[in-house]
């Protein structure tokens, strides 16, 4: 059974088409990444899967059922903009959320998760006394404590420092191991590359990519060669003139060369040796960011936004 099926879904908000003719299938038990810049329609799609909002046309099937409302206790949801009752204590608020999902005696599970994410000492403190990262972890727990079969996380890593980021990532992977289907949205391409079985890219309401990272890379990316020549011989212009080089990206000391498909990398290496001493020659697959830039032709700002995140994500 597929965890989620969307067929020709459309949604508009006062003259803006947020989602256009969207179809996608999320197999059970996988990690599915929704990527795309802000305002591309990721959150809208997630909300439609949660049945918090309804599509203008098309069908949404979740865990095999078409008619379920948002209160589907088998689906965990972490919205992009989220907060919880600040005056409540951590344990109390988590038990509250768990009970809303239908759990009768959530205290034990809540404590387990608090332990796992290093928050057990804070269980009787009020939420308002937590730091931002800790509060985010609490939010995360509130979405997962009820052992959902399907988990929707909208930007779960935003605002987290690397340590907490890691903790959440590990938690997500562990849930994956226990069979939970996980859909998370992010505009951090790096994390998506690393964690997802499937990647789905949306841009201005339209689906732009859908498949495994490998199939995407195979389909859309040509190989990228990273080179460093001694003394920066020739510079960008010289490199551009080399046969089979289609494009050059200047990364400072390193240059990234895009080559025409079908060309032989070994032949290219020889040609480069003619230009100067080759200090670094690396054949790498194109990054998701690059693919995105290439196919979606976004505005310069959107491209920068995604790239900067890719860099921060841990090059």
């Amino acid at each position: 059974m597929n965890a989620v099926e969307l067929v020709e879904v459309n949604k508009a908000f006062s003259n803006v088409q947020a989602v256009r003719n969207l179809s996608l299938t999320v197999p059970e038990g996988c990690v599915y990444g929704f990527i795309g810049p802000n305002g591309s329609g990721k959150s809208t799609t997630l909300r439609m899967i949660m049945r918090i909002i309804y599509p203008d046309s098309g069908t949404v099937r979740v865990l095999g059922a078409e008619k379920l409302g948002a209160a589907n206790d088998l689906v965990g949801y972490l919205p992009e903009e989220r907060s919880t009752y600040k005056k409540m204590k951590v344990r109390e608020v988590l038990c509250f959320h768990a009970e809303l999902k239908g759990l009768r005696r959530p205290a034990v599970l809540v404590d387990e998760w608090l332990e796992r994410l290093g928050l057990i000492d804070w269980r009787d403190k009020k939420v308002e006394s937590l730091s931002k990262g800790m509060a985010q972890k609490v939010q995360f727990i509130s979405a997962v404590v009820s052992k959902p079969k399907l988990l929707l996380l909208d930007e779960p890593f935003s605002g987290l420092d690397p340590v907490n980021n890691e903790a959440i990532r590990n938690a997500v992977l562990e849930l994956h191991r226990t069979g939970t289907t996980i859909i998370f949205s992010t505009h951090d391409m790096r994390t998506a590359e690393v964690m997802c079985d499937y990647i789905f890219m949306i841009y201005r309401g339209d689906k732009v990519l859908d498949g495994t990272l490998e199939s995407i890379q195979n389909q859309y990316g040509t190989d990228v060669i990273r080179v460093r020549l001694e003394g920066n011989s020739g510079g960008v212009n010289a490199l551009e003139r080399v046969r089979d080089v289609v494009g050059v990206k200047d990364l400072g000391h390193f240059k990234e060369l895009r080559i025409s498909s079908g060309s032989d990398t070994q032949v290219l290496l020889q040609r480069l040796c003619e230009l100067g001493r080759v200090m670094h020659f690396e054949v790498s697959r194109p990054s998701l960011h690059d693919i995105f830039v290439r196919i979606a032709n976004p505005t310069a700002e959107e491209a920068d936004a995604t790239r900067n995140l890719a860099v921060v994500g841990g090059e």
Partner: protein, 467 residues
Amino acid sequence: MRKVMVIAWREFNATVRTKAFVVGIVLMPILMCGSVVVSIVTEKLEDRESKTIAIVDRTPGGKIAPLLQTAVLKRNAEDSIDKKTGERSSPEFNLEIVPPSSSTAEAIEEQRVQLSERVKKQEIIGFLEIGSEANNQRATVSAILGAIGKPKVKPKEEAVDGANDPALSRFQTKPTNSGAIDFYRWSLMQITLITRFGLTDVDEKMQKAIFDQKPPVVMLGLTKRDEATGKAIDDEGNMKSAAQLLVGIGLMMLMFMMVMIGSTPLLQSVLEEKMQKISEVLLGSVQPFQLMMGKLLGMIGVALLMSAVYVTGALFAVHYYGYGEYLPTSLLLWFMFYLVLAIIMYGSLFSAIGASCSDMKEPQALMLPVMTPIIIPLMLVGLIIRNPDGLISRAVSLFPPTTPMMMLLRQALESNVQVWEQVVSAIGVVLFTIFCVWVGGRIFRVGILMQGKAPSFGQLFQWVSRE
């Protein structure tokens, strides 16, 4: 349903388990009753003092003043004392007889000015100037007729300025002084007696006898036949209706407070949760309607808790002092019934308003139409008390938005509230409440997810009617 209760329980606890609530529940009655009690007590204290009034008798021979003195002494000794408790029920009047000035216009005015100064200095509370013709019966009657505005019988006579008519007496004081007003009313009767029946010419025994009369009319309640003994029994009248009044107003004020405490915070709460993005997290687990009902039920719980505390306290006090009959159980049941419905009614509308705004400033305009039916009953209290079965009272108590408070008041006053009125208004309130919940629910559902400026009424209407 279980989810609704989870939300309700959280809402209830979050409100009740705070210091603010505990302090408030104690403070509120103190503040509300305190101000009333303080004003009653200080009034009583003031009343204990004796009041001095100056009398200027301009009648030839000045025989009216001493007669007034006799009357006043009798009043102080007997009439102004409560027969039951033996305590003074109204202040003592102390008359100071002041010799009249000469009868020139300036002298008269001068004396008035001087006496007015004494009033300002609080040496006396007022002064009564008995006109020179006051004892002249015929002149008195025509003067009174003149004061009412009928034309003088003899056109040759100068039109006399009403207030300076020598056949009239004048009492001058600061109009806000309630003791002085009491004296004025008392003196009306006495001066009328004295001047119209020429008591100054009657012998002393006769005078005393006339002043010795008890008030000729007593006020009582209604007569009913006791089923057991077959005897006709008179209700006590004053006592009971005063108590009923207190109970009626008290319960209505309590309901007003509870409605304000139980329903208005919902607007704030819903709006805050929306602004802080808590709502969307919750909507991943519950339907919007469940969220709204949960919060409503939670606040009903809060209001019921507070009312229970106050009503229990009141019941204790009332039974302790032996006035148990004034707070019948049926009335309390009606109170609970109306309270719950009122909170649901207003609460759902306030929740809807909160859900449709995105900013703290936006709700103001939308709040007004909802607040109006809550405030109207307060403004009409006086009217209802004076005329509980009049057209306006009935209309307002049958109009569902104002029914809870108005009907409760009427029932407490034990007026002629017919059974059909009770039934019709109860049904009306229930139906209207359901309607409010339905409308509120639809607005809530759409609004809670919407960002942007607050909708106009037209847009709200669309939200309710579409889909």
